[in-house]
Symmetry: C2
Subunit: 362 residues, 2 copies
Amino acid sequence: MIEVPRHIIDLQPYKPGRLIEDIQKEYGFERVIKLASNENPLGVSPLAIQAMINSIHQLNRYPDIASMTLRTKLSEFFHIETSCIITGHGSEAIIQTLMRTFLNDDDEAITVTGTFVGFYVITKAIGIKLHLLPLDENYGFDLGAILDAITPKTKVIYLVNPNSPTGTIFTKKQFEEFINLVPENIIIIVDEAYFEFVTDNPDFPNSMDYRRDNIVTLRTFSKAYGLAGIRIGYGFANPELVGYMLKVRLPFEPGIPSQAAGIAALTDKQFLDYYLKVNKTGKEFLYNLYDELGIRYIKSEANFVMTVHDSEEEVNRINEQLLRRGVIIRPLRPFGLPHCLRVTIGLPDENEIYAFALKQIL
Amino acid sequence: MIEVPRHIIDLQPYKPGRLIEDIQKEYGFERVIKLASNENPLGVSPLAIQAMINSIHQLNRYPDIASMTLRTKLSEFFHIETSCIITGHGSEAIIQTLMRTFLNDDDEAITVTGTFVGFYVITKAIGIKLHLLPLDENYGFDLGAILDAITPKTKVIYLVNPNSPTGTIFTKKQFEEFINLVPENIIIIVDEAYFEFVTDNPDFPNSMDYRRDNIVTLRTFSKAYGLAGIRIGYGFANPELVGYMLKVRLPFEPGIPSQAAGIAALTDKQFLDYYLKVNKTGKEFLYNLYDELGIRYIKSEANFVMTVHDSEEEVNRINEQLLRRGVIIRPLRPFGLPHCLRVTIGLPDENEIYAFALKQIL
């Protein structure tokens, strides 16, 4: 018998959105609308597709160990030195690498209930004590409460901006006050997976603009860039931290076609701009729908909207009834918000089908 | 200042074979022959290429979380339950997941000097004490010595069969004696990355045939299947161990096109058989070359051959002179065998170019 550490036995694994194929099988539908995982509903950038196909002849070779191909391109694109850039098999892999690189067993982490579940799983899988604070009354990060919760054992603070599943942001002013008060020996992770969707909010802080040695910015190709299926995250940090993380991470992250697709996707401004437009129109459509139906929702800076309901029973009823109509959205019990639902903004016809179903249910 | 744990500061990262592009740039060559990383010199299976291209339209979606697509196919192919199969971003990722899942800080691992360097790096990155035993006088795993080195703290034993960089195997008889004497609370990893190359040795043990709860078999698509660039490893273990590892690993390993390519590559028997034939012919060619030149070599059951030299100086001289002639092979100092070189068996013309260069040098 292999003895298994207690924290692994107790670990609750990450549960993603339901798959289209599963719901098709379960309910016998031909068309299923997936609005559950904040994926890009337009599909994949044509430039990224072409770049992947062009890379296929090299697949028998190992990628370059330090992802220099992709990191060099990111360096040019974001005007930041290559030595400040880390890449990974999804930004989740970078979080995992960071935690494994810098944390000792008795170090602790802080974040909130009502943010990216992957962070909870990674932290617990490593056996790190995680302090979960409540969101503020507007479903935003309560940076003041996080400051108050810091102890000498705190090594990492995890922020998500815009936050998922709430769609809220914290402002420049809030962030500046916060980073000025966090001790320099604590790593502040700012997960900006939804960064590209904030197009017209002057109060939104781009954490890259604050070049402190303890801030790590995370970005991804999985959301706005439409490449969730090939797993590429990237991040910006001071070169010393990046150097240590490069030693600890798996040597070949991401693979050859992923690097090729990421590079091409970055340059496909037309595709991104079009998606941002589709997303904005869809968001207005959902806001109007909820206003019309009298459903409480939180204004979102991302590609999804969270609705707030009276009870978990109501949430489960809506979710179940939507599934029976071939629409997958996300009940937020695993995120610690059991009375809330999250809907990814889809293509216009997907939003219409969701709206039609929702009206039938209510 | 972020405090960094001592074992991370001391960590020596993995150093892969040199890249073709680097040597092209450094020496100004148009053609560079890479015989350094045991890659499939034929390229990629046409079926795998087609499957990848067919998967591209789904890349905006997350993969299924448990890699069921690929695991179901592996289950059919190897006649083993899906619940016994684990996949990862390269088999290295599976090793990492396994170590993180089952080892406490004071657990220890055993392997040999002269095997897969990635295991050393992973173990040290996790902060686990690693005991390195010498190879036997024939450059093979000394299973008896490993048995003698077991202590109550031993939690993992890492074996590679056929071994890289030596090309040696341990036999059925040796393996059976060994597993009968290893306590059941110790995990025996048998890394069979080069499994497919052992085509006609009845003494070779397929570790999958020994269904013990503490044996974990690892395989890869990176070598015989020619898919190093997309990173897919897989493994077989008892369902309980697999269940724990699935909780700890990154949720989406491997990505969508990688799963598609792996599935197709498995079924492309023609491509694999042809490569095995090319490899066998190439191996005979190298044996004859070394016999002719009076170079000591170790008979290999894999897609590479290790040569043994008088000194590290001689090894470095040969390596340097080969690079100057556009041929990349692998000096084995990082593997703990500084007086040895490893050459991947290439295409016939690549082997000829290497032979021509080697004759010039000696």
